[in-house]
């Protein structure tokens, strides 16, 4: 236990800001997960691996002398097609089955991706340097790397664009209709097969954006995907499906929670505390649900 965070008030400010910037990024990944979970009833264990793959796209651009920030445009385009390909090869065969089958299938994809990335890109930890510098606040007691600010800004931008797209476009309406009732949507002429493919593609594209941002802000490695899957899973569970403001809020909440867990419990419990929170929330939800059922009786 460490109560440094209370002794130095500036640390509290720092932790909150760091957490929020980080949380926005998590929320972007989680939004993709919520989208396809809601539409296709698939929990994508390979979510984190798609993120890492997006990161590698930005990294390779950086290697070839292109500024990695362009990765936020290139990575989603490539990842969209990767997503479609995964859908056509695997997901469309499990989309109507029960949740367990889809978890197994995406778990398999996750392992395959890890190994393929390791094979293709090597096991070295890599990163892309943006050279964005730092913003100092409060007499340089609070420091915010501009890369983090940039990634939060881009995440918000993409999230907003997506919301508008979902509301206004034809495909967006079709996706929402399919999420509400796939059968009814089909009867009314929506090509649900296409909608599913597009949804999975959009999810992969969002992962691509997030991955490019992570390669600029943190580090990437073929085996680093799982923590991102877990975090987005958790954010979605807290927020519920189809609740975008909820996803954003719970993403930021998780970011801040992680930072404080880091300061108070120690860095070693950072990811552990996320798991613990996940268990607590699941227990709480179950508890709440069981009470509801009793009431209905």
């Amino acid at each position: 236990m460490d109560f440094l965070v209370f002794q130095y008030p500036m640390i509290t400010v720092q932790a909150c800001l760091d957490g929020i910037l980080l949380g926005v990024l998590f929320a972007l990944i989680a939004y993709g997960m919520a989208l396809q979970w809601g539409v296709m009833n698939i929990i994508n264990i390979a979510q984190g691996d798609l993120v890492i793959l997006g990161g590698y796209i930005a990294y390779f651009m950086y290697l070839y002398g292109i500024h990695p920030a362009w990765g936020v445009i290139v990575a989603p385009v490539i990842m969209y097609f990767v997503g479609i390909a995964i859908y056509k090869l695997v997901i469309n065969k499990v989309v109507d089955r029960d949740l367990f089958i889809s978890i197994l299938a995406t778990f398999g994809i996750s392992i395959l991706f890890m190994q393929l990335m390791n094979f293709a890109f090597g096991a070295d930890v890599v990163l892309a340097n943006s050279g964005y510098g730092t913003t100092m606040l409060f007499d340089s007691n609070v420091v915010l790397p501009n890369s983090k600010i940039f990634s939060a800004f881009i995440s918000i931008l993409f999230a907003v664009c997506l919301v508008i797209y979902m509301k206004k476009s034809k495909l967006g309406r079709a996706i929402r209709a399919t999420a509400q009732n796939a059968r009814a949507a089909k009867i009314l002429g929506v090509d649900t097969e296409k909608v599913y493919a597009a949804t999975f593609g959009i999810n992969a594209a969002l992962c691509g954006v997030a991955g490019a941002l992570i390669s600029i802000t943190f580090t990437i490695h073929p085996y680093m995907g799982l923590p991102y899957t877990i975090r987005s899973f958790m954010i979605v569970i807290v927020a519920g499906l189809g609740n975008l403001p909820g996803v954003a809020m719970s993403g930021m909440g998780l970011g801040v929670f992680e930072e404080f867990a880091d300061y108070i419990l120690g860095t070693e419990f950072r990811i552990g505390s996320v798991f613990l929170l996940l268990v607590l929330i699941l227990v709480y939800r179950r508890f709440k649900l069981s009470r509801k059922r009793e009431y209905l009786k």
């Binding site: 640390i11 990163l127 420091v143 930072e259 860095t267 070693e268 552990g272």
Partner: protein, 412 residues
């Protein structure tokens, strides 16, 4: 049906015959001494696994081309059977079993990393197979009383205590305040123990003691604490991830600390990935090419580095150098034992006392090399932004003067 049965029994008879025949004469076949090694060629350690394999191969070629190993008046050549352990300790232990009981290997070379060496050591010990390893530095390997394990490298707890001692010395002999962040794995925790020892010896105080998770890619929290508490030394060890993350975030957050000591800088290609931001970082290394140790096979560090670069196309990290040294140790032991009897070779290994291009080698009863100090190098960059690692401690090997304290970010 009947035909199927006949074919089946014929095939199985062949398999049995083949496997037994391999087992019966695999250790020394004709003029070949066959060593076994499980190495991480895939999985998360694959980069360093390849460095290890390249080091082994380089030494095998060199020893074979320079006359081989002379035992009992006959000349033998080295050959290595490799298996890929997929960076997985369980797999490594299985492969060690397989190498020994199926392939009949009687002498082993170590895998990459402390964790995998820990998995293999009980197996080699059980069968009494001498193993010379070059990439497992965890102290716990040398406290278990293993009789057949020999490590050419210095144990992990010695990696960075030189840094603490240097810091105290530069502080006029007065104790220093230390901040440290270590990953939670066997190796890094041993480095941590070394720092704790050094702190106790010098009366220094540890003011931040963070443990980093395995999935680490953000250590901003630790660095914020460092910013607030202003320690004299910051020590970070978390394999390549730790080194890369630390440098990125220290530069981004403009953390000023007089001394920054780390491990795995050259494996992380720190100066290549981070350029000038990595400047002044102090790194523990088992070996550096500028050291002036000598032997008959590779001459010295500079020649080794040049030859290695010619063959594999990159500057050798210390992981390759120490792996090459393992073969030199085996050759020396075989010749002194003048026999392929495992016990005799083991005793000869235990009595090793030699110099290689990599350093002096002399084993303690626990199996660790006690005759080779760690070196510290500092990343130094010139105005054009090209960076180089220069040895700064111990003074005997220093090729440049330690820059201390590290200039503040505002003055760079």
């Amino acid at each position: 049906m009947k035909l199927n049965k006949i074919i089946l029994s014929f095939v199985s008879a062949l398999v049995i015959l083949f496997s037994t025949s391999v087992a019966s004469f695999a250790k020394v076949v004709g003029d070949k001494i066959i060593l076994g090694a499980a190495i991480s060629l895939t999985g998360k350690y694959s980069s360093n696994g390849v460095h290890t394999q390249n080091g082994y191969n380089m030494a095998v070629d060199r020893i074979n081309s320079m006359g081989g190993v002379k035992v009992g008046g006959k000349t033998y050549k080295f050959d290595i059977i490799y298996y890929d352990d997929e960076s997985n300790p369980k797999r490594a232990a299985q492969l060690a079993e397989r190498l020994i009981s199926q392939d009949g290997v009687e002498f082993m070379l170590g895998p990459y990393s402390s964790g995998l060496t820990k998995a293999i050591a009980p197996v080699t010990e059980k069968y009494g197979v001498p193993m010379v390893e070059a990439n497992g530095a965890s102290r716990s390997l040398f406290t278990k009383g293993y009789k057949y394990l020999f490590a050419v490298l210095a144990p992990a707890n010695l990696y960075l205590d030189v840094a603490i001692e240097t810091a105290v010395e530069l502080n006029g002999g007065k104790p220093v305040r230390i901040a440290q962040a270590f990953e939670q794995d066997a190796f890094s925790q041993d480095v941590r123990l070394g720092i704790l020892d050094a702190a106790e010896r010098t009366g220094s105080k540890i003011i931040i003691d963070d443990k980093l998770p395995k999935e680490l890619n953000d250590m901003a929290a630790t660095l914020v604490k460092v910013k607030q508490m202003k320690p004299d030394v910051l020590v970070v060890s978390g394999h390549t991830k730790g080194a890369l993350t630390a440098i990125r975030q220290i530069a981004e957050m403009k953390v000023d600390v007089p001394m920054l000591a780390m491990t795995h800088c050259d494996a992380a290609k720190l100066s290549k990935q981070h350029g000038k931001n990595s400047q002044y970082a102090l790194c523990a290394s088992q070996w550096h090419k500028s050291l002036t140790y000598k032997d008959d096979f590779f001459k010295d560090g500079m020649t080794y580095a040049a030859d290695f670069e010619k063959e594999f196309g990159y500057d050798p990290p210390y992981q390759s150098a120490e792996s090459s040294a393992a073969l030199l140790v085996f050759k020396d032991a075989f010749e002194r034992a003048n026999s392929f009897d495992q016990k005799k070779v083991r005793d000869a290994l235990a009595a090793t006392n030699m110099q290689t291009f990599y350093g002096n080698i002399k084993f303690a009863p626990g199996g660790q090399n006690v005759d080779k100090p760690m070196v510290l190098f500092q990343v130094m960059c010139d105005a054009s932004g090209s960076c180089e690692n220069k040895v700064v401690a111990p003074l005997k090997w220093a090729s440049a003067k330690l820059i201390h304290p590290i200039p503040k970010w505002s003055e760079r």
